[in-house]
Symmetry: none
Subunit: 402 residues, 2 copies
Amino acid sequence: MQKITRSLVQKNTTRIVLVVLDGLGGLPVNGKSELEAAHTPNLDALARTSACGLHVPVALGITPGSGPGHLSLFGYDPVEFQIGRGILEALGLGMEIRKTDVALRCNYATIEDGIIGDRRAGRIPTDQSRILTEKLQAAVSRIGDAEVAFAPGMEHRFAVRFRFPDSLPPDAARINDTDPQKEGLAPAPPVGETPSAQHVAQVADAFISRVSSVLKNEKKANYALLRGFSVMPHLLTFQEAYGLTSLAVAVYPMYRGIAKLIGMEAPEVSGDVADELAFLKDKFDDHDFFFMHVKKVDSYGEDGNFEEKKKRIEEFDVLLPRILELRPDVLIITGDHSTPALMKGHSWHPVPALLKSPYVFGGLCSGFSERECFRGELGIFPTTSLMTLALANAGRLRKFGA
Amino acid sequence: MQKITRSLVQKNTTRIVLVVLDGLGGLPVNGKSELEAAHTPNLDALARTSACGLHVPVALGITPGSGPGHLSLFGYDPVEFQIGRGILEALGLGMEIRKTDVALRCNYATIEDGIIGDRRAGRIPTDQSRILTEKLQAAVSRIGDAEVAFAPGMEHRFAVRFRFPDSLPPDAARINDTDPQKEGLAPAPPVGETPSAQHVAQVADAFISRVSSVLKNEKKANYALLRGFSVMPHLLTFQEAYGLTSLAVAVYPMYRGIAKLIGMEAPEVSGDVADELAFLKDKFDDHDFFFMHVKKVDSYGEDGNFEEKKKRIEEFDVLLPRILELRPDVLIITGDHSTPALMKGHSWHPVPALLKSPYVFGGLCSGFSERECFRGELGIFPTTSLMTLALANAGRLRKFGA
């Protein structure tokens, strides 16, 4: 699909804004979903004059992670382009990833006489594990032709990036996890399935020895288990795919990281949604496409906190006029997946969306909610079509055939 | 999809009528679309008892040309089967195209010392270019093993058909345009990418010399630029695909031409919609399937003339009872794409459709319009499914599996 879209791209001076309220979709509690319960006069008014519908990030019944959810919003087939666990972990911890890199997730663990005692090193507290990670970084910065970078994570988790001199082939990370998945077993040695993966596996093997030697006298954690070896997926950039210069406005590193994977500019932004909006306004003359990410909606959904999720939606509603004042040619407000507080986690439910442009019907929904979006003119559609619709509404696609 | 449908076809004596109001779909101006603003008591009554919905000719957000729009209505995947520019131009100018033919679009141009002066020969008036084209046809009727036929077009445009003794392979027209796209440059010689295309390119090269020699003393246009070399797409006929004998009732040559590509009978018809209907009535005992094309709805949409587009819809509404009197078993009324007067051109918006048969729910729409069709029982669906639905409602498809 992206191939047809790409073949029809034409440029103009329009601006497109995609606002992702992470985990927006919900489910009824006492008869109303979070979005239905929230007081959202601005979103409701906008929905009445917009094209509304619900989109399916991966497939009906499939619950997407944040990676697939966002790739799909950006028009990339999330089944064809899978982002490895190591890459996602590294992005989430703020690491920058290039085509020369292998990323992996690591766990601090304990080992005695070659046998794993605790796979999570007693869930060592974050402040203690951070010290270990800094010590490792100071001692291990290069193995063979690979630069080694560490990123501390929560409790026993950290991420590692091997940066090689040249771009890696897609099979360079076909390496097993060393985690035996059960205590009382020996860790598995890393083995590469292909010649280029074998080279990376040798680096990983040497890495394990170096880490063990640095940690050998540590009481809480004297070993590291390696999982999720992965390379950057080979994706067209947003510019290549759509001819759009693009800016990500996101406080959380993982979402900036995903945006960077497709070549978006994604500078560090801190603060709350109002700060994100100020940043958006400041940069609004510099790009064609703006991806703005609002994290907190999802976080409270994951906690099962219906009231707080509702409040975060209401908070956004109050700020929405600031986006409208920028007069984007196309404005989309949606989520990357549903996170019903009722389920305390991501879910498979189609995600409500509104698209504002001069070329819509409107008048089909009385407000912005899941149940109203089911009446909308966009129907239920694949998330990957959203970018094509955005480009069409922005006048950025030529006719197909004569 | 067509493959499964095809495998289930069974014959009976039912009749199916597909009415295509070209460019039917619109967008609201002052709150109402063309179809909403039009006074259409007959269409509205029919919609109330029909299955309604909207279909997507190519993909969400993709604006179809007339070729892809119609192929899709006939159940052929418009991405798999792309009709070349030369073929469409030739069909539009009333040429008949076979599997032995290469068709191309040509421009009259001016050349001096091998350099293109004007790529469009000053948009030479149609009456003058027609004289040149007739002169060329009189002088050039054969080159090597190819019969050469000309069709005059508007202003500087004309079409040419090379007819070879045998059917051509699909790659026989992989030849570059000779148009350098900029004045002040030399034209490119035609070069074939494959052996069979090389043979056609030699014919084209000799054709250019012959044309230049005939035109050499003409003041307005002394050269021809060649573009859009194409062969007929290799399509199953309608009879092969669906076991239907079929008749196209269309005043405009291009639509008869597309119908002929899939083996429909498509005799010349002239006059207005009433004349088309008289023709339909006259032939109604002779075929299983009838494609009736109403062009003017689209034409006024392209002109941005909301009022006239609306009137053409109203005109059709008055005549609709004449179709109902024929008592077709299945009647579909729809468009090949949307042409909102607001946009003065084709658009990507799903196309409203109604399907009348004894086997529908009805009662979901209060009239025939885009917004009413969004409530309909067909939902938003791919245009290529329409033929399968037509056959099913006509009792012409067996059960799939046991």
